[in-house]
């Protein structure tokens, strides 16, 4: 829910960053100073570089900070406009500000400075300011627009992959489970009842999965419920060995990680073995990290229709990267007779 809401907000928003934030102001300071250096170098006069640079810096920073202050105030209003309107409004306001400051500067130097600080005519000075400002403002706004589009597309892509994954593996499992329940309904009503409850719990866990992290305890419970349903269907062909007692159950993990991994292991491994086999799930604590592996046998001559598998894996990889950056490892070993996935991620037992 939270992620979906953030996405919706981003879609409606214009692309301006928060100009009241200290970080943004610092970036603007640096960029303005760079512009000042470029402009000074362009009109280089031997022997007077530092003097020229200080004059130029003062002028450019004055424009930059006043622009930032204005953008800070008008942003809430501008954001409610469309992208094009926001662009036009900001561009016009900033350009007007530049012209005003150019005029003020010209008048001030004329009144206070005896010597000629600005070696140019009135019109020439204002004209240069106008042209340079137009170009710099247009470039800056274009940059902001492109980078906001880029951030937005990343978020949207991540969301769409998550929902694709959530929708992807379900049908096969869902219909098979319903078929099992239909069979049990008469031969073993008590078991059928259990299975319906398990299926309901599992579906609920899936629907709640948008909260991006859950505790290991919840994750393992979801996987155990899933295992119970599959066991009814596959009988003696399915064995799962859990070795996870060492794990701190309060630790957080991106939600719906373990159950999809078990689902993969069964769908691509156990189900394709006539005699079935054993999925081995182990969890350990390694210093500040948690390490989690899941290993399943695979049929030697299986046709390896592994696109679903790869999809699920790249999705998990992406979510771990999103949650932990480079501090998480997701490793897949695809050998001839076994498939194994290893997850290593920082142990976070913080309160939810």
């Amino acid at each position: 829910m939270a992620a979906a809401k953030a996405g919706a907000d981003m879609q409606n928003q214009a692309y301006l960053p928060d100009f009241c934030a200290a970080g943004t102001v610092l970036v603007i300071l640096l960029v303005s100073e760079l512009v000042a250096i470029v402009l000074t170098l362009a009109s280089y006069v031997p022997g007077s570089f530092l003097t020229e640079l200080s004059k130029m810096s003062m002028y450019v920073l004055w424009i930059a900070f006043l622009s930032t202050a204005i953008l800070c105030r008008i942003r809430p209003w501008v954001e409610r406009q469309g992208n094009t309107q926001a662009f036009v409004v900001c561009f016009v306001i900033l350009l007007a500000l530049c012209l005003l400051l150019a005029e003020i500067t010209w008048q001030l130097t004329r009144i206070f400075a005896e010597s000629v600080i600005i070696g140019d005519s009135h019109l020439g000075f204002v004209g240069r300011t106008f042209t340079i400002s137009s170009i710099v403002i247009a470039l800056a706004m274009r940059y902001l627009y492109v980078s906001s589009e880029w951030r937005r597309s990343i978020v949207l892509e991540a969301q769409s992959r998550i929902s694709a994954l959530q929708a992807l593996i379900r049908p096969h499992f869902l219909f098979n489970s319903l078929n099992t329940i239909a069979a049990l309904a008469r031969s073993n009503p008590a078991q059928a009842e259990e299975a319906v409850q398990d299926l309901a719990d599992l579906m609920r866990a899936n629907l709640n999965a948008s909260s991006d992290r859950s505790t290991l305890k919840e994750e393992l419970e979801t996987a155990a419920i899933y295992q119970r349903i599959e066991k009814l269907r596959l009988g003696d062909r399915l064995h799962v060995k859990w070795d996870v007692d060492e794990l701190p159950m309060r630790a957080l993990i991106p939600s719906l990680t373990i159950q999809p991994l078990l689902e993969n292991a069964i769908f691509h491994g156990i189900e394709l073995l006539p005699e079935g086999g054993e999925v081995l799930i182990t969890g350990h604590r390694k210093g500040d990290d948690l390490e989690f592996t899941i290993v399943n046998p695979v049929a030697a001559d299986s046709k390896r229709q592994s696109s679903g598998n790869k999809m699920a894996m790249s999705n998990i990889r992406q979510r771990f990267e999103l949650a932990y950056g480079s501090r998480a490892e997701v490793e897949v070993q695809d050998a001839a007779d076994r498939y194994s996935v290893r997850l290593a991620f920082p142990c976070d037992e913080g309160v939810q």
Partner: protein, 246 residues
């Protein structure tokens, strides 16, 4: 009608059995947990219809169906599936009967009534459209009423003799119904044509040699038989190329 149920999941078989039996018109003559068992059973129980799960370990439903087609009196086939969108699209396109699990009683009865025998061509087309492996893992020989599966890995070569194709493999030789042409197409990556009437497994060839009358012959690997098949002149270059490629 006599129905054979093939599904790897016990609850699924139980339910189908009950539905068939409750119809009153049909009877279940056997159950199999995988494709191989199904092929063994079919010669013993002679079903009219086989209810065949698509996704099964070892040999999937489509390959099983292609082998069933070789039995003396091929049964009609109705596929069952929980969810296989590609397969379903392909079945619809080729008018192949199927039912979706959980199966509805009325739908099953309708499918049994309309069940039809499927030619191998139809199944190959459907398999291809569904993106399933069109290459079988076995070829199938019929010995009296029994179907015998011969794993592709164990085959040395195929030779055509007028009407029949003989497959020579680890455990002897058998006659099969496939044509040399269709075998060549299906297993193009593993077999090479050495002569108008012979197809040899590339992995089983040890070397080529010239005999006294300057004809090229194939020497098979040790254990793959003593026969020295003649390589016809127009195939020599291709055989050499394939051997180099390994």
């Amino acid at each position: 009608m006599k129905v054979l149920i093939v599904d790897d999941e016990a609850p699924a078989r139980d339910r189908l059995r009950r539905l068939v039996e409750e119809s009153g018109e049909h009877s279940v003559v056997g159950e199999a947990g995988n494709g191989r068992q199904a092929l063994e059973l079919v010669g013993q129980v002679h079903p009219d219809v086989v209810l065949l799960d698509i996704r099964m370990p070892g040999m999937d439903g489509v390959e099983t169906a292609r082998h069933l087609d070789q039995s003396r009196d091929p049964p009609a086939i109705v596929f069952t599936t929980a969810y296989d969108q590609y397969a379903i699209d392909a079945f619809d396109a080729n008018a192949i009967g199927y039912v979706l699990k959980p199966v509805r009683r009325e739908r099953l009865e309708q499918a049994l009534r309309q069940a039809a025998r499927l030619g191998r061509g139809v199944l190959e087309d459907a398999g291809r459209q569904a993106g399933m492996d069109e290459q079988r893992h076995h070829v199938c020989a019929r010995i009296h009423d029994e179907l015998k599966l011969i794993p592709i890995d164990e085959i040395f070569y195929f030779v055509a003799d007028q009407k029949y194709v003989t497959v020579v493999h680890q455990n002897g030789s058998d006659l099969i119904d496939d044509s040399l042409k269709s075998l060549e197409t299906e297993f193009a990556d593993r077999f090479v044509r050495v002569h108008r009437s012979a197809l040899v497994a590339v992995s089983m060839i040890d070397a080529l040699k010239k005999d006294d009358s300057a004809r090229t012959r194939v020497i098979l690997r040790p254990g793959a038989g003593e026969d020295e098949l003649v390589v016809s002149r127009r195939h020599v270059a291709e055989v050499k190329r394939r051997l180099k490629k390994g």
